[in-house]
Symmetry: C4
Subunit: 221 residues, 4 copies
Amino acid sequence: MTRWERATSTPLTIAALVFLAAFAAPILWWPTPPEVVAVCSVLALLTWAAFLIDYLVRLKLAPVKRTFVRRHLMDLLAVALPMLRSLRLLRVVTILTLLDRRARLRGRVITHLVGATVLLGFCASLAVLSAERSSPEANIITFGDAVWWALSTMATVGYGDRYPVTAAGRWVGAGLMIGGVAILGTVTATISSWLIQHLDTSNEVDRLQAENAELKRRLEG
Amino acid sequence: MTRWERATSTPLTIAALVFLAAFAAPILWWPTPPEVVAVCSVLALLTWAAFLIDYLVRLKLAPVKRTFVRRHLMDLLAVALPMLRSLRLLRVVTILTLLDRRARLRGRVITHLVGATVLLGFCASLAVLSAERSSPEANIITFGDAVWWALSTMATVGYGDRYPVTAAGRWVGAGLMIGGVAILGTVTATISSWLIQHLDTSNEVDRLQAENAELKRRLEG
Amino acid sequence: MTRWERATSTPLTIAALVFLAAFAAPILWWPTPPEVVAVCSVLALLTWAAFLIDYLVRLKLAPVKRTFVRRHLMDLLAVALPMLRSLRLLRVVTILTLLDRRARLRGRVITHLVGATVLLGFCASLAVLSAERSSPEANIITFGDAVWWALSTMATVGYGDRYPVTAAGRWVGAGLMIGGVAILGTVTATISSWLIQHLDTSNEVDRLQAENAELKRRLEG
Amino acid sequence: MTRWERATSTPLTIAALVFLAAFAAPILWWPTPPEVVAVCSVLALLTWAAFLIDYLVRLKLAPVKRTFVRRHLMDLLAVALPMLRSLRLLRVVTILTLLDRRARLRGRVITHLVGATVLLGFCASLAVLSAERSSPEANIITFGDAVWWALSTMATVGYGDRYPVTAAGRWVGAGLMIGGVAILGTVTATISSWLIQHLDTSNEVDRLQAENAELKRRLEG
């Protein structure tokens, strides 16, 4: 981690949280008063500027520009494409990891998993509500509906009592399904790895170790 | 296990079962006669008192209070928050383990899995029925509907012929989905670990062992 | 395998297939002519007698009766409880294994998986159709509907365009969901075990083997 | 890879892409002008001829005919059965692998996974739309509906707002479900294998290696 990255870590995380608030406020506060819309637009612009400046500085500091661009493609997308600006929120998940740096790999996976699930579910709920609310045939019309829909989609239950009907809402749904599949896969994988690690296989390793120890004793004796 | 824990193990398990009965009776016996409501309220209060006393005694016996509180957070929640009182039922799952203490890790995982699935499904069915029954738009109106809904949710099938419509019912659904995902993940993980353990990988270990044995023979010869 | 088991293997498999045919015919041939009903009832009775005799002979030949009963609980259930008679069909899955005895563990798992999926799906389709057809509110009324419902349930998709409404149909659904979860878990586990076996972990084992080989060379040199 | 296979690799991949275009065009361009239908039929015939010739030449070049037929059963099915012609599209997935030949096993699995998911989803969307569009009770009537249905089926969410009602559409759905289950299983398996490989188990191997190294040092000293 360079000095710049250490110095900007906290401000950028705050910027990501401000961005999340500026994204959530006009959707949850409905109908939105024009002043709130204005304030949130300004805040969204400011956080975007912060991420843009950070990207440009890091690009300038990088020894090989091309390698930097290739390795930080997600950062570029998050800055360049307004549609993918939610990628900036990934920074919020990163805080959880910082709090838990001493944790082992599985601990970090679990922290990321919970953080990503909550963040993905919350953002997808907001996005689908914002997309659907204006449609006359929509059945997702309150934030409660949106959260319920997001949860039942991520768990791949999909009752079908709530579902997006607009093209924008379906894009959100597509992203949520892909995220949900990844999350479910990671849950199973984490449990699998735990089980496999604590199972009798280890007995075999123990036996090998014991044999090695005996070999060593014989060499010494 | 301290002497206190050995002594209270059976009474507390009985208390958990009584609590389950007192929770189930007024929901299954509908409309509930006022006397049944009264008896069940008293029983629920008594079992709560039993768990509270047990918590306080164990807290008093603990050498370092802070460590005890941190390690038994779930017990604290189960005693302090009436909403999370179903956590006390986890004790019922524990009995299954006691019956099967000699079992190996995978055996214990399977026992817990079956116990947790049945208990979670049963409690969620009761809770959702209790939440939905009073709503005019509800489609979960009999215990059969509730069990069918719980099962199709835990298996992540989610037909959508039955689904909660009240906020309370959706909270139950959210808990059930999270539980269902964990259960499904554990099922897959258990099968995975079994397969991986019995597969040809072990051949590699066998070969290593054979080589070690040969090394040993040469050292001795 | 005792002599009796070798001698009865083929006849009992045929009996299981006859049982399957006698189970399927009156459901697929609808409305069933009374003669077909009569013939199928007789065939079902005969196959039951065959399984009963086989169980009793094996029980008599067993050195320790109690151990035999405990180890062949499923056979006992399949013979004693008419409701669980479909367990006898498991014998049909066994043939697939016989054809493929030289296969390694994973091969046998795949064979069982495909056999069990087809058999489970087919039997559940028949059973749900038989249960639902007579109900006025049923939406599963043709064999095509039943197969489509069974497939979308086993894959845990659960569109909800077709679903059982009778108690009997829901019991079939419950069994199918549990079977579907087990099948899905096994699919994932089989792929997992394959991947893990062929991955770079083996490189580590290779390195260990190489080191052992070097040790051996040094001892000899 | 024989000389013939190297020489035909690029042309056959182009043929598969042309086949895909000739399959997609009349479905997406609706109602299809008769000239487009005619052109697409001719293109489909030509690509079929290309695959047939390739199969026959490879059969002729093969030293043992029977082994070749058994090992390339999928190629035979793709050429012989018009219904299974979509198997020819698998060649398109193969390109992705060629681009990434240096990748390790897990890299190749991920490439195949993404390629197969996109191709399967796209083809199933086209096929279901083509099957359903003409039915009066159909609810999948635009390409957007079809893609949304395919995605929610592959993720096993299955809202049930869109589902096939014709026999042909349900066959497509059956194939998509089986493919979806395989894809989900592979996703979980890939994450599992990554986690297991990077977990503390490796510590055990490290310890064994360290012990071996010490043994070696002692032998040398």
